[in-house]
């Protein structure tokens, strides 16, 4: 898994996405249980998200999704691959 964000070729994750930036979820890495729990909040490939914030050092990530918001631990946010939208 790429540790340095913004490297050439390294896929962009929800953790690296700058605040207020809308993006499209491309892929979610993780076990079946985690995928399911993320899906329950609407976080699944093809969904549109807007980043709200990242916590300190680095902490939980908050995203706007559907009509609401969801918080993900940093480790999980790094496993959600996104493509920024204009």
């Amino acid at each position: 898994m790429p540790e340095t964000p913004g490297q050439a070729n390294a896929p962009l994750t929800l953790a690296d996405l700058p605040p207020r930036r809308p993006a499209l979820i491309i892929e979610v890495h993780g076990g079946w249980g985690m995928q399911r729990r993320l899906q329950a909040l609407g976080i699944r490939p093809g969904a549109r998200v807007t980043k709200v914030s990242t916590g300190f050092r680095p902490g939980a990530v908050v995203v706007g999704i559907g009509g609401g918001q969801a918080a993900l631990g940093h480790g999980i946010a790094r496993r959600v691959i996104v493509e920024p939208l204009p």
Partner: protein
Amino acid sequence: MKKILLMGNPNVGKSAVFARLTGARVISSNYPGTTVAFTQGMTVIGREKAVLIDVPGAYDLEPSSQAERVAVDMLREGDIVVDVIDASNLERNLALTLRLLEQDTPVVVALNMWDDAAHKGITIDAGRLEAALGVPVVPTVAISGEGIKNLASRIPEARAPRHAARSESERWAEIGRIVGDVQSLSHRHHTFLEMLGDASVKPPTGIPIAVLVLIASFGIVRTIGEGLIRFILDPLFEGLWKPLMFRLSALLEPGTLGHGIVIGKLVDGDIDFVQSFGLLTTGLYVPLGMVLPYILSFYIVMGVLEDFGYLPRLAVLLDKLMHRMGLHGWAIIPSLLGLGCNVPGILATRILETRRERFIAATLISIGIPCAALQAMIWGLLGRHGGRYVLLVYAVLFLVWAALGRLLNGVLRGRSPELIMEIPPYRLPALRALAQKVWMRMTAFLKEAVPIVLLGVLVVNLLYFTGLFDRLAAWSAPLMTRVLGLPEEAVVAMAVGFLRKDVAVGMLGAMNLTAGQMTVAVTVLAMFFPCIATFVVLWKELGWADLGKSILIMLASSLVAGAVLNAFLT
């Protein structure tokens, strides 16, 4: 009798719908996971009586926490499901709805939070949604009662369309199709509450906001609590109750067993509500005159924070920190609830995913989180020696809480899962619901606490009169005096702490301890053992083996903390 289940995602207002349909009082809050066990009540549907069950929220029919497991197990027993969905978040909510429509149980959909959706610029065509799902769909605003009559009248029309089972991707495709068909969005600007919501989770603004909220909460709890005591309860007890007690005292004659139990001992010929220790003096003054005002003020402030939706945002800010203790941010919510009473705090740990997390969180709550009753007594009695001693007790408890968390995280096998949590929008609390919640928590305190406080006072008097008091004190003298620097009688207070810790602090207050001794004693008392109510709930949630471990940790850490504090203060 028919069983009707209220099901839906967490935090969509199931408990509010339940309260409307049954007239029963239930606690609802603005964060997912308020209901962790089912509640049932009676309602009338058509002309028939029916049992209505408020099921804990679930995102799915495959459980990932204990609270969700309760929901899935209930589904098998229901005759009708009322699927409550959040109209402002249709897409996510339909995932569970479609799963329910694949089952054999007839379903009615309550399209709740209809007002919220309108504020967000979301319009849903309920008729088209009804056609798309094949079951009745009724728009409701449970918190104000709008649409509830209509919902009740349409429950008999519940249908089971028995959709063919879909794969996850087929289900999401279907949801996308339905949402596109029935929902239209109009553009609108961010509201003030939304901007405030975002500012509360972004660290540069969120941390100052958190500090402010905590200081303000603490200040308000103290101001209301102290105000009630000074202006209402003390005048009542001193002016009205005391003269009555004096008459009773003369009737019973000081020195007799009856006088000792009912009034207690006279201090320089006077009844002292803290020191006399009779059933009708200290036994009533501790729960009603000292603790109740703080219970009321704590639950008012807590209720506002809960219903406004602040707690999940605090969970986000503290997520990183809580990971060091083997927990994630969500665990802060049970911990804060524990500041009122440890019992609901420990019950709320059911929203945590793993057994390991629940063990750590429950143990830390019973060691490091003093309940409101205990805190009220600490402020009342230790506070007389100066606020810095009270502050010291809080500081020690916090340090133990944090250090023990890190230790347990290092020692216990396994890893803690990561935070995955829905963040509800900020909402202005509905005053009626808030008042009802505070009222319920107050009456629960009165019903559960007062009898045990009276029992505690009775036990103390019996120990004293039978001479067991002295034997217990002599037996524990080495530990009490050498290690903790306390008079040997303090052991009786510790023993009474098993019944209620507020009574125990009351006993310590009657012993003329120095400020340092009192500080050591209340710190040890807070940590060393759960009170009986907490003990029972810990046993139910953890089982004997883990309860045993948890109690060993409590005993060990309280002795260490007490000994260190003693060495430092004397």
